[in-house]
C-alpha cells in the first residue's frame, strides 16, 4: 500500500492562511489503513485547524469528509457539494489523491495534508517498511522475493556493498541490509551460485527516470 504521514499542523496552517472555508478530505484506502489520512484523521485535523485558527484570532469554517477512494475521479463526485463550497481543500490522501482532486475540481485548489512516504507494508502496528520503488521492471524472481532496488540503500544489483555489517545497512543500524537478506535466502534455497552472475546495468528508463510514466492498455480501454 501507499504509506503516508500527516504533515505538521503548523505547515498545514501556513498552506491555508487567508482562506475562510476549508474542507479536510480524507481517503478510505491506503492512508486509512496506515492511520494517516482516513476519516478519523480528517476529523482530528479539521478540529485542530479550527482550534488553532480560533486561537490565532482568525476563526474559520472547517468541514471534514472522507471519500472511499481519492485517486479515482468517480469517487470524487461524492464530495462535489463540499468541495465547491470550500475556499480550499486539504487532502489527507497520498499525492495521487491530491492531484486527482486538482484535476477533477480544476477551479479549486487542493493542498496536501500528508507527506506520501513510500510504497510498503506494515511490519507490525505502527511500523511500516518500504519495499517497492515501482521501477517498472521487477527482478524479485532473481533475488528470492527481496527487492534489491528498494531494500538496498544504493539499489545495487550486485550487492552487498562493503558497508553491510551484522546484517545491517551502513545508513542506519535500524535498517536491514537488503542484500544480506538476499544472500541468506539464496543460501536457504541452495541457490548461492546464482550470485556469480554479474547483473548488467539496469534499464532505468522503465522507472521514473524515463520521464513521467503513462500506461495505455488497448484491451481495457473503452
Amino acid at each position: 500500500m501507499i504509506v503516508g504521514e500527516r504533515k505538521p499542523l503548523a505547515e498545514i496552517l501556513q498552506m491555508v492562511e487567508g482562506y475562510g472555508k476549508i474542507l479536510v478530505l480524507g481517503c478510505g484506502e491506503c492512508v486509512t489503513v496506515c492511520m494517516a489520512g482516513g476519516d478519523k484523521e480528517a476529523r482530528e485535523t479539521a478540529l485542530a485547524l479550527s482550534i488553532a485558527r480560533k486561537r490565532a484570532g482568525s476563526a474559520v469554517a472547517v468541514e471534514s469528509k472522507t471519500v472511499e477512494r481519492q485517486c479515482e475521479f468517480e469517487y470524487l463526485e461524492a464530495t462535489r457539494s463540499q468541495a465547491e463550497a470550500a475556499d480550499v481543500v486539504i487532502s489527507l490522501a497520498c499525492g495521487v489523491g491530491v492531484q486527482a482532486m486538482n484535476m477533477h475540481y480544476a477551479d479549486k485548489l487542493t493542498v496536501p495534508g500528508l507527506n506520501t512516504t513510500f510504497m510498503g507494508l506494515p511490519l507490525r502496528q505502527g511500523v511500516w517498511l518500504e519495499n517497492c520503488l515501482g521501477c517498472g521492471n521487477c527482478v524479485l524472481d532473481e533475488t528470492m522475493g527481496i527487492c534489491p532496488v528498494a531494500r538496498c540503500s544504493k539499489s545495487m544489483l550486485n550487492g552487498p556493498c562493503g558497508g553491510s555489517q551484522d546484517g545491517k545497512c551502513e545508513v542506519s543500524k535500524e535498517t536491514e541490509c537488503g542484500w544480506h537478506l538476499i544472500v541468506e535466502r539464496l543460501g536457504r534455497f541452495g541457490k548461492l551460485p546464482s550470485l556469480e552472475e554479474i547483473k548488467p546495468p539496469k534499464d532505468w528508463s522503465a522507472s521514473h527516470s524515463g520521464g513521467p510514466r503513462k500506461m495505455v492498455r488497448e484491451d481495457v480501454t473503452l
Binding site: S153, K154, S155, M156, L157, N158, G159, P160, C161, G162, G163, S164, Q165, D166, G167, E170, V171, C177, H180, V183, E184, L192, L195, E196, I198, K199, P200, P201, K202, W204
Partner: protein, 307 residues
C-alpha cells in the same frame, strides 16, 4: 597503448608494492595537493586519490590526479557510483585518460547521508560491479555501456576494492572473485585492524586461487589517536577495530608512536601473508607519517623506472 603506469610496473616486477592515499582538499588549493604528494614522493609507488570520500565535497579525484601526473607521479583515481550516472562516469574516464591518468579504482561510495550534503540524491545508476565491467568493456571492446563504439581505444588499469570486514563474511571472497570476473586488474582491501579475520578471508581467497589472478593490496591505516581509533570503530562503516587494539593505544604513553608501531607491525606481518602483492597506506589527514612508516617497515628503497 599508453605506457604502463608505475603501479603496473612495480606489480609486474614482483616487488612488494606500496601505495598511499591523498584526500583532496575542501578547496581549490592546488598547493595542498602538491604539498602532500611531494611529501610522499619516493615513499609510495602510486597515489590513491579519493572521490569525495565519505560523501564530503572536495576537489575532484580526476583534477587532483591530473596535478599528480604533471608532477611526474602515478595517480590512482577513485570513481564511485554515488554521484554520477553512467554518462558522467564514462565521460570522466575518457577525460581522465586524456589527462594522462591510467589507474582507476572502482568503488560503490559511502552513502551521501554521511557527508556534508546529506540531502543529495544518491545516483547509483551503476553499481560497483557494473562500473568495473563498464570500464573493462570500454578498454577491451571499445564500447560504452549503451553499446556505442568509442572513437579510439583507451588503456586503463582497473582496480576494485573488497571489504573482508563486511558481512556476510562467507560471501566476501566470492564477491572478490566476482569483481575479478567483472574485470578488476588489481584489488585493494578495506583497512585491516582485525588481522585474524583478514587472515581467514585470505585463506578463502587462496583456496579459490584469486590471488593468482590479480594482485591484492592490503589496506592499513595508522592510528593517530585514541579518539581516531574509537571513531573508526563506531562511526566508519564497514570497519572492525578490535577492543584489544583500542586498549593498546589507550595504555600507551605516546599514542602517535604506538599508532605508528601498530601500523609497522601490521605491514611486517602482511609482508609474510601468502597472496598479498603489497600494502595501501591510508593516512588521510596524517600524510606526513607515511615516510616514517614506509621506512620503519623496511619498504625502502622504492623502485625507480626510466620510461
Amino acid at each position: 597503448m599508453m605506457a604502463k603506469s608505475n603501479l603496473q610496473k612495480v606489480l609486474e616486477s614482483g616487488q612488494f608494492v606500496v601505495t598511499g592515499e591523498l584526500g583532496p582538499p575542501k578547496s581549490a588549493e592546488r598547493k595542498k595537493i602538491e604539498h602532500h604528494a611531494e611529501m610522499l614522493r619516493g615513499f609510495v609507488d602510486a597515489f590513491n586519490l579519493t572521490d569525495n570520500q565519505t560523501a564530503i565535497v572536495r576537489t575532484s579525484s580526476i583534477a587532483s590526479g591530473a596535478i599528480l601526473t604533471q608532477m611526474g607521479l602515478d595517480p590512482i583515481i577513485q570513481i564511485t557510483c554515488r554521484d554520477r550516472n553512467r554518462i558522467a562516469i564514462q565521460s570522466d574516464v575518457l577525460g581522465a585518460v586524456a589527462l594522462g591518468i591510467k589507474n582507476i579504482l572502482c568503488l560503490q561510495g559511502d552513502h551521501a547521508k554521511f557527508g556534508n550534503e546529506p540531502g543529495a540524491k544518491n545516483v547509483n545508476d551503476l553499481d560497483s560491479m557494473q562500473l568495473i565491467q563498464a570500464l573493462k568493456k570500454m578498454r577491451d571492446e571499445q564500447v560504452f555501456t549503451g553499446g556505442e563504439k568509442l572513437e579510439a581505444p583507451i588503456d586503463i588499469f582497473i582496480g576494485a576494492v573488497e571489504n573482508p570486514f563486511a558481512d556476510p563474511f562467507e560471501y566476501r571472497a566470492h564477491r572478490l572473485a566476482k569483481k575479478v570476473a567483472a574485470g578488476a586488474d588489481f584489488i585493494q582491501t578495506q583497512a585491516i585492524f582485525d588481522m585474524e579475520r583478514f587472515e581467514r578471508w585470505m585463506e578463502k581467497v587462496r583456496e579459490m586461487g584469486i590471488h593468482k589472478q590479480v594482485p591484492i593490496l592490503a589496506g592499513v591505516i595508522p592510528i593517530k589517536s585514541l579518539g581516531a581509533a574509537r571513531y573508526m570503530k563506531n562511526n566508519v562503516s564497514g570497519m572492525i577495530v578490535p577492543d584489544a587494539l583500542i586498549e593498546r593505544v589507550k595504555a600507551a604513553p605516546d599514542k602517535k608512536e604506538e599508532g605508528v608501531r601498530i601500523c609497522v607491525e601490521m605491514i611486517e606481518h602482511l609482508k609474510t601473508v601468502e597472496g598479498l602483492a603489497g600494502v595501501h597506506i591510508m593516512a588521510v589527514a596524517w600524510e606526513e607519517i607515511v615516510p616514517e612508516i614506509v621506512t620503519r617497515a623496511g619498504l625502502l628503497p622504492r623502485p625507480v623506472y626510466k620510461d
